[in-house]
């Protein structure tokens, strides 16, 4: 490693020593941990991690380097504010790799730390909650001050930072990586509201037989309906759902007009649109091994999750039906608004990274679209 001593300071004053890698400088953000053992590149390029310093609990990171086609954001660049690992690989070992993690981070100006006791950090965040922090090769006092000065995640609208400026069409499928049967053709038009969308969601929609138009976050319901979609997808994204009021309005405006499918932030927005509320979790769910129970079938899905806020189950009552629950802590994982043909999940069925147990939801969405289309045709 570089051998340059660097550290992480949390807002509560706790210091963790490590070594600098990636770009030089100081970075601030909410410090969170994710427990996935694979998929560091997907995490780094996932817009939902915007504004966060991510700790990987898996100790050996960067082993397979950077693979261009595995990036989760359209521009293939990292979204995280910073990265913390126990051990960063000196080499990139994969037949698809083009670059080492370290070189890529440096090229994109992402500050990173290695050699740090990530388990101690994880335990600290678990016990004391996620909080802001600062990383870099700067004196501890300066880092603590920078950490305290960083904006709080509650009430923060980060969507504006990650959403595209202009609408665009998306046609790329999963190709050789497809895990579901091939569709008969792109026969449904889906508008996806990009609040920090992961590219694999779009691929999954294409895989399921949709042609997709991606629109910026501030696109209104009327503008969306003007695109004549068969269904609307509300994406994942960073920050506090309650702060994204414009998107909530859009969802409200679309409810009942077209089938809606939401993921993660999209789940929270759909809940708020029906009148429910959200709250911030102590340290969130971030990982690839989160068990979710489908209440309809009783089956358990191993899911990818990345969220710091959750839908208040009690507030859903009378407004939407809970379809999925987290098996460990019983938090909201899925809801359905039967009369208004909308459903959403808190977790990431598109995985990337993670298991493919919940890909069936994309199929469910196109089935809803087809039914709704039939109904409209016969109405």
């Amino acid at each position: 490693m570089s051998g340059v001593r660097a550290r992480l300071a949390l807002a509560d004053g706790t210091i963790f020593e490590g070594e600098a890698f990636g770009a030089a400088g100081v970075a601030t953000g909410e410090v969170v941990f994710t427990t996935g053992m694979t998929g560091y590149q997907e995490v780094l390029t996932d817009p939902s991690y915007c504004g966060q310093i991510v700790t990987m609990t898996a100790p050996e990171i960067g082993n397979t380097g950077i693979v261009a086609e595995d990036a989760e954001s359209a521009h293939e660049a990292p979204w995280v504010s910073g990265l913390i690992v126990r051990e960063a690989s000196p080499v990139a070992s994969s037949w698809r790799a083009t670059e080492t993690l370290s070189a890529w981070l440096e090229r994109h100006g992402v500050v990173a730390l290695s050699g740090l006791d990530t388990r101690r950090l994880t335990r600290h965040l678990r016990d004391h909650g996620s909080q802001n922090g600062a990383i870099g090769a700067a004196p501890p006092e300066e880092l603590v001050r920078r950490a305290c000065d960083a904006p709080s995640m509650v009430g923060l609208d980060l969507v504006a930072r990650v959403t595209p400026k202009e609408p665009y069409r998306f046609t790329e499928s999963s190709g050789v990586w497809r895990a579901t049967p091939a569709p008969t053709g792109a026969t449904r038009h889906v508008v996806a509201i990009d609040l920090g969308l992961k590219r694999n969601i779009l691929r999954c929609l294409v895989d399921a037989g949709c042609s997709v138009t991606v629109v910026p976050a501030r696109t209104t319901a009327a503008e969306i309906l003007a695109l004549d979609p068969d269904g609307v997808f509300v994406s994942n994204g960073p920050g506090d759902p309650a702060a994204v009021t414009y998107a909530i309005d859009t969802v409200k405006g679309l409810l009942g007009k077209r089938p809606i499918f939401g993921i993660c932030l999209g789940h929270q927005l759909l809940a708020i649109a029906t009148g429910a509320t959200t709250y911030k979790l102590k340290f969130g769910h971030r990982g690839l091994n989160q068990p979710v129970k489908d209440l309809a079938t009783g089956r358990v899905e191993i899911t990818t999750q990345n969220h710091g806020f959750a839908v208040d189950l009690a507030s859903l009552e009378g407004k939407a039906r809970t379809t999925h629950l987290h098996l460990n802590d019983g938090t909201s994982e899925g809801l359905e608004v039967p009369d208004l043909d909308a459903f959403s999940v808190q977790y990431h069925p598109e995985a990337a990274a993670g298991p493919h147990d919940a890909l069936y939801l994309f199929r469910r969405f196109v089935d809803r679209i087809d039914l709704a289309r039939d109904r409209r045709a016969h109405a």
Binding site: F16, F33, T35, G36, M37, T38, G39, Q41, E42, T57, A58, P59, E60, N63, T64, V67, D70, R86, E87, S89, P90, V91, S93, S94, W95, R96, D117, T118, R119, R120, T122, R123, R126, D127, W177, A179, G287, L288, N289, Q290, P291, K293, T297, G298, R299, V300, I302, L327, N328, A351, A352, A353, G354, P355, H356, D357
Partner: protein, 1121 residues
């Protein structure tokens, strides 16, 4: 679906004796299974022929049968106990094959017994290569191109013409995998037509179905395993991904493996996960654990499915220990109806339906025993050859790798350099490779030649030739190659080891050079420790002692901390103290304020130190927990029950070195009272730590280090015997080769020669002449040097003496006898390899009483507190000699306990913790009314080129027990349990040494009375004819065909009795024993065993009659009445 109430009684099938490919991991799974089923309220009937297991403890099941694992016996048990179901998925391939056989012959249907855990269809689909391949094709997964050969001609057709289902020719090199064998037994890689023909012939012989899969070679591809679980609701989880450091071509049991997978992107890993799920669904496993193996082409990511096991496996044991997820326990519960989401993850208290995530790296490193099998082919391939494994947990791969290397106890303290330690010149030009391993006797050992040291260029050249060949020490060679400047790129070309692993190895090697200069710097030293360097390694690099490094390290405050294995990477708080050391910021050990005992386990299984010691450690833990003490287990063997996180109160998964154990003692002494450490239960490994721990001020429980030394030190032991007036064979210590000759001359030949301080008879031999001593002595010198001494012991060899083993318990004031065992084979066969009979079947009561009395004297004089084992030799039926005293748990403790019903290890542990024998009310074992026989099991079939002649060096891997009312019946059961079927008629071939000819006549007479005809070699035939016993003559192999070996090979011989003496004669008769082994013909290499076998044949009055079975609980009850 919740628990099935329609089932009441369940039969659990074990895996039998420890063999290569099936070791104590199935004791671990069987034990977990039995506990889980009983906790659910089921009545458990258990069968396993292996008495050294925890699972056969009578308390663990309602009925425990220590009986042969064969269809007639299983049928008898099913008929007698009428269980509702059979659970075969926790007992390895053995249990699965038995269950399938019982299904196929209609027994299960007839008795209305359900197979749970895996359906017959699923088992067949997974196990039958062709069915499996077809199943994979149906779900769009690729397998390597292959075809099933039932003859050598078939194999050629597959390889060269693509016939028999291969599609396209598989080409050379081609992989050969015999069907239905353990650990890939009989497998190989053929590079040419001639090679193919020889190897296929061998493989077909190994396969019970006479079939072998001939397969496209994917040598050099990346190899992965996924440990998966599926339930009836189609809930599916991956418990662990495992990556093989050694690329495809080496059996996964022989590979260094790493968990989790290190060099896959998420997309690639998910592809394997999706494939595993599809495989589980297609094969139809819906109530349990399985593993699926994949090959991945490193050039383009192409994935091939190699195989799947629809049962708990060695890898599942590893995965369980690596993650903290108890696969066998969960599998047992799924088999009785539960769904994953109805079960709890003990460690986190949350649902069992999740996938463990690791924030550490696990490395498994196999342990080999080639030194026991001179002449064996040491190259690794598709047939498993390792006898055990060590697992280590580290925060990073480098740390885990170096911990694993030192856990192996092969004299390496990490990734140490072997330059100047091994003879690279000789290794690179290994002469044994040109030999016909199937039939040529091993070469005679030669004294090492003195050659000038290798030049740098020669060394590079030797390493470049060595590293492409997979071998036990390959990774050390690769590290040395890096040290001499061969690049990682070049090494990747030569070895196909993934560049990431090579980069990590390079980090270790590069760092090593910086250690001496930076020793005084705390930050640098911490980095060194974080890379996994042990104090001993650092000491060697800095030319200091381990103690000096320790002082520096302590002064700089560089100390290990302990992290928890928690299944969730710290996401959830846990209370389970399953710990590993690392050099991080904070310790999560949280030692309790209780009174505590640390039990040191035995480390990786090896020949001479295996499951028996794990049994003892587990019993110590159970007994001390019951006394209210906190028990803390330290071990690094993932196959064991001792490393189950709920066996003891606390578990440290750590190497058993002084440094690692001291760190645990220090940590535990931060709170509460460390009453003591038990070093006597795990075999030689912890015993070696007795003195250093004691010197470091750690209290030891039981017999003092001083008493241990008194029993082990030759000079002091002789004084002790003189004081007590006890006899021992004459002998002396020789320092070096010259002295050995002098001593031998003084004592007179034959002499028994062995290095000091080694276990399992390592490099022990009987020399009948000066010439033989000259040929073998340097082997003993070499072994002694490895053990850190130059002393070799030269003793008078007691010819034709009977060996006796005694296990006893002392408390310092009193000593009780646990059991006296007579060996069937005469002295000279290692006690671990011989057949033991309890109670003695041919010793007079006076001799037994004298042996017991001498044991008592020895124990009391030594002040033994805890277990003690004494070996005696009885000559001429009267004269008793003390051979050796071991004031520790012995290999026979579990056998004695199963035979007598007295849990010796538990009682002794209580005594060590301060209870008196009187207080415990323990008395000498009364002579049981039944007879128990322990028979050994050997791995010779795995080692072409190795002689099967028994000798003073232990070579058995496992044991079975036969228990019955008479000696002959008990021995008969024991023989059957080793999978040998004694014939009832046919041609018996006898070829014996001169001394044995009178006994051979008696045997021949009795065999003829049983209906056998006799064939013999010239000398033996002449002796028989003189005794008026008709015998057909057969030529010796060296006299030309047709000879006796031809007759054995063509199957016209039913039974072989072959004894021989002298090195040359042994080599001459090698092919007789080897051919008998290969043809699976019962053969006996001692007169005593042959005579006992005839007893068995005579006792078996009605062969084919239904088997009588009786449970241990019934035998013990009868004994108590």
């Amino acid at each position: 679906m919740p628990r099935r109430d329609d089932l009441k009684k369940i039969l659990l099938i074990g895996s039998g004796p420890i063999v290569i490919g099936q070791a104590c991991e199935f004791d671990y799974s069987g034990t977990q299974g039995a506990k889980a089923l009983r906790a659910e309220g089921y009545e458990v009937v258990l069968v396993n022929s292996n008495p050294a297991t925890i699972m056969t403890d009578p308390e663990l099941a309602d009925r425990t049968y220590v009986e042969p694992l064969d269809v007639p016996t299983l049928r008898a048990i099913l008929e007698r106990d009428r269980p509702d179901a059979v659970l075969p998925t926790l007992g390895g391939q053995t249990a699965l094959n038995l269950a399938l056989a019982l299904h196929d012959d209609g027994t299960l249907d007839r008795l209305g017994v359900e197979l749970i855990g895996a359906s017959p269809t699923a088992i067949r689909k997974a196990e039958d290569r062709q069915l499996f391949k077809e199943a994979m094709a149906r779900i769009g997964l690729e397998c390597p191109r292959s075809g099933v050969a039932r003859s050598v001609e078939d194999a050629v057709a597959i390889v060269e013409r693509g016939e028999l289902g291969a599609g396209k020719p598989t080409g050379y090199p081609a992989l050969i995998r015999p069907s239905f064998t353990l650990g890939g037994s009989g497998g190989g890689i053929a590079t040419s037509r001639a090679d193919l023909e020889a190897r296929v012939a061998w493989a077909l012989e190994q396969s019970p179905t006479r079939e072998a899969l001939i397969e496209e070679s994917v040598l050099g591809w990346k190899e992965y395993e996924l440990e998966v679980i599926r339930d009836t609701a189609d809930n599916f989880i991956v418990v662990c991904s495992i990556e093989n450091l050694d690329p495809m071509g080496v059996h996964t049991g022989d590979s260094i493996t790493v968990a989790p997978a290190m060099t896959l992107t998420d997309r690639e890993l998910q592809r394997l996960r999706d494939a595993s799920r599809a495989v589980m669904t297609e094969i139809g496993v819906e109530t349990g654990g399985s593993n699926v193996q994949f090959a991945v082409n490193p050039a383009d990511g192409r994935v091939l499915v190699i195989e799947m096991n629809p049962r708990v496996s060695r890898s599942s044991a590893l995965a369980s220990k690596a993650t903290g997820y108890p696969i066998a326990k969960i599998a047992a519960k799924l088999a009785v109806g539960y769904r994953l989401d109805e079960l709890t993850n003990d460690i986190t208290g949350t649902s069992a339906a999740f996938e463990p995530t690791l924030d550490y790296v696990v490395v498994k490193w196999p342990r080999f025993a080639f030194e026991k099998f001179p002449g064996a082919d040491k190259r690794l391939g598709p047939q498993m050859k390792s006898v055990g494994e060590a697992m280590s947990i580290g925060r990073t791969f480098c740390q885990a790798l170096q911990k694993a290397a030192r856990s192996l106890e092969t004299g390496r303290d990490g990734i140490a350099s072997l330059i100047g330690v091994v003879d690279y010149r000789a290794l690179a030009t290994d002469g044994s490779l040109g030999r016909d391993l199937l039939m040529d006797a091993p070469p005679e050992p030669r004294a090492p030649e003195t050659l000038p040291p290798l030049s740098a260029a020669e060394l590079r050249d030797a390493l470049e030739r060595l590293v492409p060949v997979a071998s036990a020490d390959r990774l050390f060679y690769v590290a040395d190659a890096l040290r001499v400047g061969i690049t990682a790129e070049r090494l990747h070309e030569l070895t196909r080891i993934d560049p990431w692993f090579l980069a990590q190895l390079a980090r270790i090697v590069d760092h090593e050079a910086r250690i001496p200069a930076s020793l005084g710097d705390a930050r640098a030293l911490r980095e060194t420790k974080r890379l996994g360097f042990s104090d001993r390694q650092i000491a060697r690099l800095c030319e200091l002692t381990e103690a000096e490094v320790r002082v520096v390290r302590e002064r700089l405050g560089v100390r290990p901390v302990f992290g928890r294995v928690d299944t969730c990477a710290a996401e959830l708080a846990t209370t389970t103290p399953y710990l590993y050391s690392s050099y991080e910021d904070e310790s999560e050990a949280a030692p309790s304020a209780r009174r505590k005992v640390i039990i040191l386990g035995g480390g990786p299984n090896r020949i001479g130190q295996g499951i028996e010691f794990d049994y003892c450690c587990v019993h110590a833990s159970m007994a001390l927990r019951a006394m209210g003490l906190e028990t803390i287990m330290v071990n690094c063997n993932p196959e064991t029950v001792s490393t189950d996180y709920d066996t003891s109160d606390r578990l440290y998964f750590e190497p058993l070195t002084f440094e690692d154990v001291m760190a645990i003692c220090d940590e535990e002494r931060r709170s509460g009272e460390l009453v003591g450490v038990i070093v006597q239960y795990g075999g030689q490994t912890p015993l070696k730590l007795a003195v250093p721990l004691s010197r470091a001020g750690v209290p030891l429980l039981g017999t003092s280090a001083e008493a241990i030394d008194r029993a082990e030190d030759r000079g002091r032991f002789d004084q002790l015997l003189t004081k007590l007036g006890l006899k021992r064979p004459r002998g002396e210590i020789a320092r070096g080769v010259d002295e050995a000759f002098e001593v031998a001359r003084r004592i007179g030949y034959p002499v028994l020669v062995r290095p000091s301080y080694v276990l399992g008879g390592r490099a022990m031999m009987i020399c009948y002449s000066e010439r033989e001593l000259a040929a073998y002595v340097h082997v003993a010198v070499e072994a002694a040097r490895e053990a850190g001494t130059q002393n070799i012991l030269v003793d008078e060899f007691l010819k034709d003496a009977i060996e006796v083993d005694v296990d006893a318990i002392g408390d310092g004031k009193q000593l009780v006898i646990g059991g006296v065992m007579q060996h069937i084979e005469e002295a000279g066969v290692h006690s671990g390899d011989s057949t033991s009979v309890l109670p003695p079947h041919s010793l007079s009561p006076e001799v037994v009483a004298s042996i017991e009395e001498q044991t008592r004297q020895l124990g009391l004089e030594l002040g033994v507190v805890g277990l003690m084992n004494v070996q005696f030799a009885v000559q001429g039926g009267r004269e008793v000699f003390v051979i050796e005293v071991n004031p520790r748990a012995s290999r026979t403790v579990p056998f004695v306990s199963k035979a007598t019903g007295q849990p010796l290890a538990k009682v002794a542990a209580q005594v060590m913790a301060g209870r008196s024998i009187e207080e415990l009310g323990v008395r000498d074992a009364s002579t049981p009314t039944h007879v128990a026989v322990k028979e050994s099991v050997f791995p010779f079939a795995k080692f072409p080129g190795v002689d099967t002649q028994l000798g003073p060096e232990m070579r058995s891997t496992g044991e079975v027990m036969g228990i019955a009312a008479t000696f002959a019946r008990a021995f008969g059961r024991a023989i059957r349990a080793t999978n040998v079927a004694l014939p009832t008629s046919g041609r018996a071939f006898i070829s014996v040494k001169d001394d044995d000819k009178p006994a051979a006549c008696a045997i021949a007479r009795r065999l003829r009375a049983l209906g056998f005809t006799i064939v013999a070699t010239d000398g033996t035939a002449a002796a028989l004819e003189r005794a008026r016993i008709p015998a057909t003559r057969l030529k010796k192999a060296r006299d030309g065909s047709p000879h006796c070996v031809d007759a054995i090979r063509e199957g016209s011989i039913a039974l072989v009795v072959n004894t021989t003496v002298g090195a040359r004669e042994i080599r001459d008769s090698y092919s007789i024993r080897r051919a008998s082994l290969l043809s699976n013909i019962p053969y006996f290499t001692t007169m005593a065993a042959s005579l006992a076998a005839v007893d068995v044949l005579e006792a078996d009055v009605a062969p084919g009659a239904p088997r009588q079975v009786r449970s241990l609980q019934e035998w013990h009850d009868a004994g108590r009445r």
